[in-house]
Amino acid sequence: MIINCTSATKLRLFRPLVEAKKPPSLILAAYFSLLMLIELTDQPIDVAATIAAVEAEGAGAVNTFIGTVRNQSTGRPVVRLHYEAYDAMAVHQMRLVAKQAQEKWPMLQKIAIVHRKGTLEIGYVAVVVAVSTPHRAESFAACQFIIDTLKKVVPIWKKEEFEDGQVWVAAHP
């Protein structure tokens, strides 16, 4: 079946990942080099710009992970999330994760890691990881390594807001 849909219909069918009106980006802490873009912001993440940041002539693959705010946590409806960060250390640790990835996959062309903090509604983008490599297999592996390691070591905390209370994720056993 072919569905002809206008852009207005598309907006109803697909939740936009980035809020429509985007204020100028405010970077709280960042590290840039020719091969690396590391950023912590309290503004909406520009996903397209983050992906564009890893474009490289030697790349045959660009792999992206976009972490978004889910509407439930182990079956319990989540209203929104509140992210907090230790800004300077978060950027430092994100940079260390990117350096580890470069050591594991020396063919990595470029890496971008952008994390947002503050209050995020359902569907909002919380984190974007983008990598470019000559071939696709390493791009999948490096992208997964970066997001998995980020979640273990980068000092960013999220608090889930429910209808009847708030909980810091993973704080208690």
């Binding site: 972490g67 992210y83 907090e84 960060a85 230790y86 300077a88 250390m89 978060a90 430092h92 640790q93 994390h115 919380a126 984190v127 997001i147 980020l150 979640k151 273990k152 070591v153 980068v154 000092p155 960013i156 905390w157 999220k158 608090k159 810091w168 994720v169 993973a170 704080a171 208690h172 056993p173």
Partner: protein, 80 residues
């Protein structure tokens, strides 16, 4: 010596402030500092874990703290 700590997430709520100044013995390790804090704030004992960062690096238990160190408590992280 006087130590200044930055607090985030659940530790900020337990202590009730984003910064904490305390007096520690002149030789105090990371493990010793945590024991001192757990005595003052018993709810820290309920956490899954609590690391200490010194100058943006995770510090080992036996690291000896200095007065000018930038110290932070790092409860279980949950970014992403």
């Amino acid at each position: 010596m006087k130590l200044k700590l930055s607090l985030f997430g659940i530790t900020k709520e337990i202590v009730g402030s984003s910064e904490l100044e305390l007096t520690a013995p002149d030789t105090q390790s990371v493990a010793g500092l945590m024991e001192q804090l757990r005595t003052d704030y018993p709810k820290l004992r309920d956490l899954t874990s609590c690391a200490v960062a010194v100058n943006s690096e995770y510090a080992a238990d036996d690291y000896q703290l200095h007065e000018r160190d930038e110290i932070a408590l790092i409860p279980p992280v949950s970014g992403g």
